[in-house]
């Protein structure tokens, strides 16, 4: 049987296939042995399919790709020439086979966009989300596949009542893929993009939900960035509403920040020397000081609020200095992690004083900056160029 026909036949037999992978011929033998005959569809050498998982032999990929490409180009030419409705299914069938083999073949994605946008049926748009998810199962970094999803969402916005539900599912998909494909920029970028379509409730829900994941993946800067995106969204939303509402709203937001700062400190102490945690702290502290500490200084009418703020500001500074001290003590062993931790904490402190000049004095009073330089030159001599430029 023709290889491409066989491939497409399997895809049609099981429309619920949710994962595709390429398998080396030697692994193929063990797969066939394991699947003791029952529901597996397999010809023993090229394809294997069970539980909605499809394996394709790496040996078959090149001839299969060539056949799929030829069929796709021929179908597309016919379709463009005749514009016939009957040819649409051919374009869809062949582009699907092609994309499963070469996920960034932009012209094939475009042909699908063309067909779907002509039909304007919601079910077809949903079908595109399924295909794109299937492609992402074997190529989780495919730029085109992620972009295709955004195109679908943009196209159905305003036409589909279930948009909020779809956004929730998108977010779950990213998390599922991020679990297997670490620090996947494309996946997380997609999740960040979704935020602009979310409601306040959804944003708060996402913030709550992603916390657990971030705590288990402390080196994944992407997830922390996602939280930064959500937090900034909440902040912006609140300042917009604050103009004609009570300051209670702002207190609620400052609570979000306070909680994140405490949680981050706990993680920093638990996981020694993680860059992503310290970078997250830079963000949290910068916003905290700029938004809450300074903003509330201006509210001269709320004198009681001001006092408590200036108190909380002082205690913030004290807390950060305390953190710096506890992270800079190098235990008497050779573990590199502690050295790294000391570097990150000193860099963090220096970064903060540079970003917020008005707090420079506060720091200076309680900490000799000269010590900071000595320490940085000792624990991180490889960046001496930077320290020399920054600390005069």
């Amino acid at each position: 049987m023709d290889l491409l026909l066989q491939f497409q036949h399997i895809l049609e037999l099981d429309p619920l296939i949710d994962e595709v992978g390429f398998v080396h011929p030697t692994q193929f033998a063990t797969l066939t042995e394991d699947s003791t005959g029952d529901a597996a569809i397999s010809d023993g050498t090229t394809f294997w399919c069970r539980d909605h998982k499809l394996g394709v032999s790496t040996q078959a990929v090149l001839p299969l790709y060539n056949a799929a490409k030829r069929a796709f180009i021929a179908a597309m030419e016919e379709y463009k020439r005749l514009g016939d409705d009957g040819l649409e299914s051919e374009v869809m069938k062949h582009s699907k086979a092609l994309l499963l083999l070469s996920s960034d073949f932009g012209t094939a994605w475009n042909s699908r966009k063309l067909v779907v946008s002509k039909k304007q049926q919601l079910s077809m748009y949903m079908g595109e989300l399924l295909l794109s998810a299937l492609v992402l199962s074997c190529s989780p970094k495919s730029d085109q596949a992620w972009s295709h999803r955004r195109w679908v969402i943009k196209s159905i916005t305003g036409k589909c009542s279930a948009l909020q539900e779809i956004l929730g599912k998108e977010s779950e998909l990213v998390e599922k893929i991020a679990e297997r494909s670490k620090m996947n920029y494309r996946a997380w970028n997609h999740r960040c993009w979704l935020v602009s379509y979310m409601t306040r409730e959804q944003v708060l829900h996402e913030l709550k939900k992603s916390r657990n994941w971030a705590g288990l993946h402390v080196a994944d800067n992407c997830c922390f960035h996602y939280r930064r995106r959500l937090m900034l969204w909440i902040l912006k939303d609140s300042t917009c509403k604050l103009e004609n509402a009570s300051p209670v709203y702002s207190v609620e937001v400052s609570e979000v920040w306070k909680e994140e700062l405490d949680w981050n400190e706990m993680l920093i102490k638990r996981y020694i020397g993680r860059e992503a945690l310290w970078l997250h702290r830079r963000f949290l502290s910068l916003c905290w000081m700029k938004q809450f500490a300074t903003n509330l200084h201006d509210v001269s009418c709320h004198s009681d609020l001001k006092i408590s703020t200036s108190d909380s500001f002082n205690s913030f500074i004290d807390n950060e200095l305390h953190l710096l001290n506890s992270c800079s003590t190098l235990p008497d062993n050779d573990f590199e992690d502690f050295q790294v931790q000391a570097t990150y904490s000193a860099t963090y402190t220096l970064w903060l004083t540079k970003q917020i000049p008005e707090f420079w004095f506060e720091f200076q009073e309680k900490l000799t900056i000269g010590n900071l330089k000595t320490m940085l030159s000792k624990v991180c001599p490889e960046r001496s160029f930077l320290w020399d430029s920054l600390i005069d």
Binding site: V61, L62, Y65, N66, I73, L101, S102, D104, F105, G106, T107, N110, K113, S147, R150, W151, K154, M183, Y185, W188, N189, C192, W193, V195, S196, A219, D220, N221, C222, H225, Y226, R228, R229, L232, W233, R274, E275, A276, L279, R282, F283, L286, C287, W351, K354, Q355, E382, R383, F385, L386, S389, L390
Partner: protein, 439 residues
């Protein structure tokens, strides 16, 4: 082997004054956007230093030095006069002449830009150095390879592959080994009736491949085969209301596309056909609190996106939107223990960031914050010295993409025997001089 005399020649020829500041757009007193073209006016004081270097010597520390007993100042003007309205162009030129006269009358001389000696010692030479011949062979064979799986799945982006491979050959001064007519006719077959280019013959047009096609033609000094207005209309037609750019008719938006549009139209000298002000403000809206940039507003900072945004701002004379210390700090934290650079926190180093991070650092004048020697060593460690080509990390499989970015990175690091490359246009400096400054 490459002639070692190239190095001596580069060292001997004194840098010209104009190029020093030609891509330093944000210096006081700023720039004027004049009619069609963007005109940068730069005044640098006596003894001022600049780490961006000259166009011929990107990344090298340059000091403006007066002759003995003299005071010096330098004013330089660059930009695209070609399309701006004649009256304004004349006015700008008149101001320039007046400035020159004023300096003459007041006995102020033009200082000469003194280029500091290369900051790197020659130790890496002894380690075997760059296997230039092998890399040339590697690129020439990859170009011919058409039937293995890797080359087949890459066929949709062959135009970018051509740009990477051919620019590498040019940096290694071996572009003449390629059949120009063959390349040019293939490039033109990839053009779509809309004016945009596809990644290969028969593929849909996209702004990504349109820039690659224009860059390839620029390398060969063949921009004259293009219907410039048609390409310009394609690119300009992709600008959205908010100033951002879509990649193609299907509407995906990304700051990469902003850079591509700006770079492409700068090469074609048609920057006046888009709304530059809005394009700049969109790029600025993608800036994060860490100083970096993402794909869209609120997107995570990524060294590749940062390059695109910094270069877009540089080409439009808008670098003043960047907090250079803040961004420079983030960028120099990309250097890891091995000397290599990563593109994001906690990631492994990768040769391609030698380009994205390094060119950004040069454009914002913070390249002295990283350890250049260690980076050179890291790139050289990623070579396949037997079969040619450069990989992402030592001992990995090589490809054209990483070979290009490795060689381009070495060029920015002033590695001997390589042509200098422009950090914003991503083309050899002599090509940029030819097409942008018409010399």
């Amino acid at each position: 082997m490459l002639p070692t005399s190239t190095w001596a020649l580069r060292k001997a020829s004194p840098p010209k004054i104009r190029p020093w500041v030609s891509f330093v757009a944000s210096y006081d007193p700023g720039h004027w956007v004049c009619g069609g073209g963007v005109v940068h006016v730069v005044v640098a004081g006596c003894g001022s230093t600049d780490h961006r270097g000259t166009l011929e010597y990107p990344g090298r520390t340059v000091t403006l030095e007066p002759a003995e007993g003299e005071v010096c100042a330098n004013c330089s003007m660059t930009g695209d006069f070609g399309n701006c309205d004649m009256y304004k162009a004349k006015l700008v030129k008149l101001l320039w002449v007046l400035w020159v006269l004023a300096m003459r009358v007041s006995n102020i001389t033009f200082g000469r830009a003194q280029v500091a000696p290369p900051p790197l010692d020659r130790a890496w030479w002894k380690m075997g150095g760059l296997a230039a011949e092998k890399h040339i062979q590697y690129i020439l064979t990859v170009e011919k390879r058409k039937d293995d799986f890797i080359s087949v799945v890459m066929e949709h982006l062959r135009m970018s592959g051509a740009y990477w491979g051919l620019t590498t050959l040019d940096l290694l001064e071996k572009l003449d080994t390629v059949d120009v007519d063959e390349v040019v006719s293939w490039v033109m077959k990839c053009q779509h009736e809309s004016g945009g280019f596809g990644g290969n013959i028969g593929h849909d047009p996209h702004i990504l491949y349109t820039l690659s096609a224009v860059q390839v033609l620029a390398l060969f000094d063949k921009l004259n085969v293009l219907d410039i207005d048609k390409v310009t209309n394609y690119v300009a037609g992709l600008q959205n209301e908010d100033g951002s750019f879509s990649g193609d008719i299907w509407g995906e938006v990304d700051t990469r596309f902003s850079y591509i549009a700006i770079c492409c139209l700068s090469i074609l000298r048609r920057l006046n056909k888009i709304n530059v002000e809005k394009a700049v403000s969109y790029v600025v809206s993608c800036k994060n609190l860490d100083g970096g940039f993402g794909c869209t507003p609120g997107g995570e900072s990524h060294a590749g996106q940062i390059f695109c945004c910094v270069a877009a701002l540089s080409l439009t004379g808008s670098l003043h939107h960047i907090d250079k210390d803040l961004l420079g700090w983030w960028l120099c934290e990309r250097q890891v223990k091995s000397g290599g650079l990563n593109g994001r926190p906690e990631k492994l180093p990768d040769v391609c960031y030698s380009w994205w991070v390094l060119s950004s650092l040069i454009m914002i004048d913070r390249v002295h914050w990283i350890n250049k020697e260690k980076l050179v060593k890291y790139i050289l460690d990623c070579q396949d010295t037997e079969n040619g080509g450069i990989s992402d990390r030592p001992d990995d499989a090589v490809d054209v993409y990483h070979t290009y970015f490795g060689v381009a990175g070495l060029s920015l690091l002033e590695y001997p025997g390589l042509k200098a490359i422009d950090p914003a246009y991503a083309l050899p400096v002599d090509v940029v001089n030819r097409i942008v400054f018409g010399r």
